[in-house]
């Protein structure tokens, strides 16, 4: 039980996917025009990630090592098709808002990255805990970034007006540049926190640089 909590909770802060692991940046930038979209995207990713981790972990000893990435992609793609059909049936407006980023969950590095780094090596219950934790961390990040951009860019939160008629929204925040700049500044803030922590422990912060896209194992495809 304790080990399950450990794998679950690491995704919530210590290894929160987009902000620490740099996984899944495309949807993080693209669907965070509003908190609602961010939340919806996050829920879809939780569904796919928890189930793909579970399935991959179940059959991890059957998959031949050489074709494992192709298998991971096939499993993730089947789950994404299921999500697409469910969203078309029950949350059609959200499905239209998210646009091509629903099918693109397939190539979201979080799915492949967690499959390769965790689910392919660990038992089922830990893999589900890892998938849920990472998914919830991803959802929190997207909702936070979406809320930030929505509040500043439209003056609303989850569609409710906050400031009254005198507020002048900063349109920059809901356009593409605002997405890049606000994500960049959040990452810088996360860096600053870990540098502070390293300094307090008396370590040299330059020894533990922020991971680049190396943590995305999708890129390692076909390498070994």
């Amino acid at each position: 039980m304790a080990s399950m909590w450990k794998e679950f909770s690491k995704g919530l802060w210590a290894e929160i996917p987009p902000f620490r692991l740099m996984l899944g940046l495309c949807p993080t930038l693209a669907v965070t025009k509003s908190a609602n979209n961010g939340l919806g995207m996050g829920l879809a990713v939780i569904f796919v990630l928890a189930l793909s981790n579970a399935v991959i972990s179940l059959i991890r000893n059957i998959i031949p090592k050489k074709v494992r990435i192709a298998c991971y992609i096939a499993i993730a793609a089947s789950l994404v098709v299921a999500v697409e059909l469910l969203m078309q049936a029950y949350t059609y407006p959200l499905y239209q808002q998210l646009g091509i980023f629903v099918p693109l969950i397939v190539v979201n590095c979080i799915i492949l990255g967690r499959a390769e780094a965790f689910a392919g090596k660990n038992p089922v219950h830990l893999s589900i805990a890892d998938g849920l934790g990472m998914g919830i961390g991803f959802t929190m990040s997207l909702t936070f970034l979406g809320a930030l951009r929505e509040v500043l860019g439209y003056g609303t939160l989850f569609g409710h007006g906050l400031f009254g008629p005198d507020f002048h929204p900063v349109h920059f925040m809901v356009e593409a540049p605002g997405a890049f700049v606000s994500l960049g500044l959040i990452l810088a803030g996360m860096n600053l926190l870990s540098i502070r922590k390293a300094l307090r422990r008396g370590e040299n912060p330059a020894d533990n640089p922020m991971p680049g896209c190396e943590s995305c194992r999708g890129c390692a495809m076909g390498r070994d």
Binding site: L29, A77, V107, C213, C219
Partner: protein, 191 residues
Amino acid sequence: MMEYFLLLISAVFVNNVVLAQYLGQCPYLGCSKEKGVSIGMGAAVIFVMILATPITWLIQYKVLVPLGLDYLQTIMFILVIAALVQLVEMFLKKAVPPLYSSLGIFLPLITTNCAVLGVAIVVQRESFDLGTSTYYAFATGLGFMLALILLASIRERLEISRLPLSMKGVPAALVLAGIMSMSFMAFAGMI
């Protein structure tokens, strides 16, 4: 003729795949540290997009739609792209070794580049015909390469300047991408 020119301008500048459509962020941030690497990556992306888009187009309209299986679009497209990339890699290795040595190392990275799958899906949603789809894929790849080379050139300069430790690497690249995206938005007046 004019509409093709406008499509090119639109795909390269106004709706740039990275800076306006947010696709392909991983290679955009990961492969933009050196100019040489960014040119190789950009060329490999153009190459795979030009091949993958017509093939997925044909699969969609000649196989999936007649059989009534178009809900399988996502899973078919990604498997076709993955297989295609492997085939291209093996073909180049045997047939064109010089090209392989310059593009080969980038090919495995491309399967999970969401820009490739993204373009294949976008041309279906826009209902382009086969020729326009291929041309649009080329233009999109060109836009990706342009954005990648520009960012790499800036980051090479940035390496030798003093930045706060917390901004080094990806955060600085993202803020730069934001500024570039702002300047690319100015092209919107052209079309």
